[in-house]
Symmetry: D2
Subunit: 287 residues, 4 copies
């Protein structure tokens, strides 16, 4: 069979039992795969098993297209949720923005440097403001203005566009609209948001103002998957920055910009490398 240069990445979770690592790693070994990276986790309390395993397919005896059916019997026996991706088949990611440029700027610049293993076929916004930035990186920019009356209708158009571009993951890079449940349900655990507070503190609008008024000494940011409950989705990454009484709300906004874009970038980085497993309301991050 022809040599291939792919790297396969299996993400799997299932009820814990003896022999899981042995049998999964044997599946790879007996077909000539060379394991590059393996990380596993057992939730002892709930007796649940999680694994991420990446292997070199250069000498693998079956092709990319045959893997799923080959692995299926094992997965069924284990009663597993699972997915196999290939590092070289880049995720197709759409970015949603409104008027603030810092998160978009950060993602596009990192993408330009090749930090993420993704493609960005399009940017969608409810405002035209960031088109110049999109143009600088030669990425198509679509505007769908949103108000409550036309939201559903506009989202349908957006979904059509996303499907045309074979989009796998959506990043809300300070997109100031709440998506409908219908939209969210099309991309379960594949819409990444950045919220500008240390969730669950300061849910909802104006978290920096809330933080300022409470007099906290630290502000935070949270990147999470979007679920139909606002700011309640599984958390992928959080970080904080120290503030003091000298900082006005405008200073919190300025310092927060650095936090937000770093956190969102790290969340996307791990998501794009298939390092994130969602488990109930939580995530396992195989770093």
């Amino acid at each position: 069979m022809p040599e291939n240069n792919l790297t396969a990445i299996l993400l799997l979770s299932c009820p814990d039992r003896g022999g899981l690592v042995s049998r999964i790693s044997h599946f790879v070994f007996e077909r000539g795969g060379n394991i590059l990276d393996l990380d596993e986790h057992v939730d002892i309390e709930n007796k649940y098993f999680f694994i991420r395993i990446a292997w070199d397919m250069k000498n693998f005896s079956i092709s990319e297209n045959e893997i799923i059916s080959a692995f299926m019997p094992l997965a069924k026996e284990f009663n597993a949720q699972w997915k196999i991706n290939f590092a070289e088949r880049k995720l197709r990611v759409a970015i949603f923005v409104s008027k603030l440029d810092h998160c978009l700027q950060e993602i596009l610049w990192r993408q330009h440097l090749g930090e993420f293993n993704i493609e960005i076929p399009l940017i969608i916004s409810n405002h035209p403001d960031l088109k110049t930035l999109a143009d600088h990186y030669s990425i198509p920019y679509y505007v769908f203005s949103i108000d409550e009356k036309i939201k559903e209708e506009q989202e349908k158009k957006e979904l059509t566009l996303l499907k045309e571009h074979k989009v796998d993951t959506i990043v809300l890079a300070r997109y100031m609209q709440i998506l409908t449940s219908a939209f969210v349900n099309e991309y379960p655990n594949r819409i990444i948001n950045i919220h500008h507070s240390f969730l669950p503190a300061f849910v909802g609008p104006n978290p920096y103002k809330q933080a300022y008024e409470r007099g906290v000494k630290i502000i935070g940011g949270t990147s999470h998957y979007v679920t139909i409950e606002l700011d309640e989705g599984p958390i992928i990454e959080q970080d904080i920055i120290r503030i003091s009484h000298k900082d006005k709300i405008s200073d919190l906004v300025r310092k927060g910009r650095d936090l937000e874009r770093m956190i969102l970038a790290r969340a996307l980085y791990n998501h794009a490398q298939h390092r994130v497993l969602v488990y109930g309301k939580k995530t396992i991050i195989f770093e």
Copy 2:
């Protein structure tokens, strides 16, 4: 007049106006004081002024006992809240504990090293468990068992004891009881608590369990002055530590112990050096 070796520390806040720094520093200068440290802050939005100024009294023309009346006219003119302390007159601090030793251990050990500028005349607890630790550092340990029926009565006895020992500040070093309003009102902005979450996230009991269940990637701790609203007092210090999916609740408790004792120690350190000014629900920390 006799030379004295005191260092005076003025903490003052008042409506902002021209000449405040000039006139306050002149008050010190014209009496022969040498300013060792001065830090000020203006809340521009609310036009409010805050200052901490420390001076060497070696050549000061008036004595410790005359300072208050000498400064009074200026303070009245400025419509100020203010207090003058002397670095060499150590704060008298009572520690309240229940059964957990980590915060008490940390404070007593640092006190033994001379890190805090305080005296600890007594420890009060609702359990006898930590008496051995108190004994090791030769500090009197009093037990007042607490249940809802006798709480008021016991607190009255505690207040009597605190007054006998001329206690200025109370530290709740993981004291597992909620103080009554009557008690709290005796020590306004002078009771320091440590809450084992990043407030305002995870108010109330079992914050580590709450954090575990929410799946946060960072846990925090908060030291604040106690007010009659639970976990709502002015925040003195906060800090965080990173956790992962590998950490069970017991790991959060273990990692949190380190956080709690460091945060509480820093809050007490700044309080004891008269570096904390309360302003509404917030604090100014002159570090």
Copy 3:
């Protein structure tokens, strides 16, 4: 006299003595200035005094041009090094780059958002690579190729250009050339460099490779003023990021990019707000 809207900022250091704060703040007060911010520091060991004081000149009785001569007598009496700047008179900053874009990108983007209080009249490079980025922000970009033979000659041309543009401060944003002493001496404590290690660890070339080989668990970055001794200038800002055995040199470079641009941005931010006082080999940062 006409109202003016300037904010004056005095940075001063001198041997410590009684009455410095009082007399300096009185200088401001008696001329009708309103102090917005004052921070001071005394090096007790060396008996040296440092102050930054900012005041609103709206009702100031003398004009911008008269301040220096008005303050001169006091400064002479105190035997002080001092400088008065005006917040509204923006620093003119030249950026020097080679081929790496991350620090330049960060500075230009923040400048575009208005975070710095500066003007950037020109960018100078020894390579043409980053001209596109300069063009995107409409900033003139000059190329002076450098090798040892022509370095002195090229630097002279650069100096002429810098003077034409009235440049006050130079930022070396990963500029890969060592400047001659002659050049450095033209901008004492006004050339800001970013070194990609936690100085004094890993001086010289390839610090990430050095860090990788030593097996450190943390990498750092350092922004400092350039002196004629390589990597020995007064440190303005440092920060670090955690790494692990999983990180290859390329990961250190990637993580280090984030460090470098944040550190350099913070150093420039403080420098541009006249918050940095150099004192021997060290800096006082009035944050």
Copy 4:
């Protein structure tokens, strides 16, 4: 065979090749072990493989004493360095101290709480000062005064004592003596030191003074295994704390105490759980 309640932990490194994970995990599986934790790492550049694997021996078909000979053939085939420990067989750790108590205090207190999975059969010091602290925790304390003339002789007595107590690991908790090569070679990669700087910065004596004089904005600490080259051993853990121009050397010492004891505690924690693999001058930490 009788049920046993041990948890086996294999640490292994060898040249990389196909099938390592599969065959090692199969070794566990076919004998009825249940893998609790597995982490592996491949150094791709040097083609070297590292693994830590922990399994429950409840239903394991061979006993604790038979494991080594059962695993030997596999280890030989892989040309591996390896060791099998049992979580329930606690490491026996000796603490060496001089006069400073903070690291010893921290370790004994954590040990008292049960944080480490170790036994501490004895403390050795070159001074009698910390005997009271040792007594409080009921741990035997031996004094061997040291000067250059008698160092070798005293170390021999110490080694005899360590062997009598079956000591596996030595922690230098701010022990102010340099051990001879002869001593170090008795405990290769089993002597843990804490150095109070961010190595490789500020090697040698008085790192806080060195840091103060260089004007760094951050100080650090480093825990490493002791080798015969001073401060050059494999680094286990590092951390840092921010300082400012306000901090005198005594403040650096105070802040550094917190750093040192936290870093040393984390290093010992990971070492005692067999999470550290030394690889040349570096460590792999399986956290």
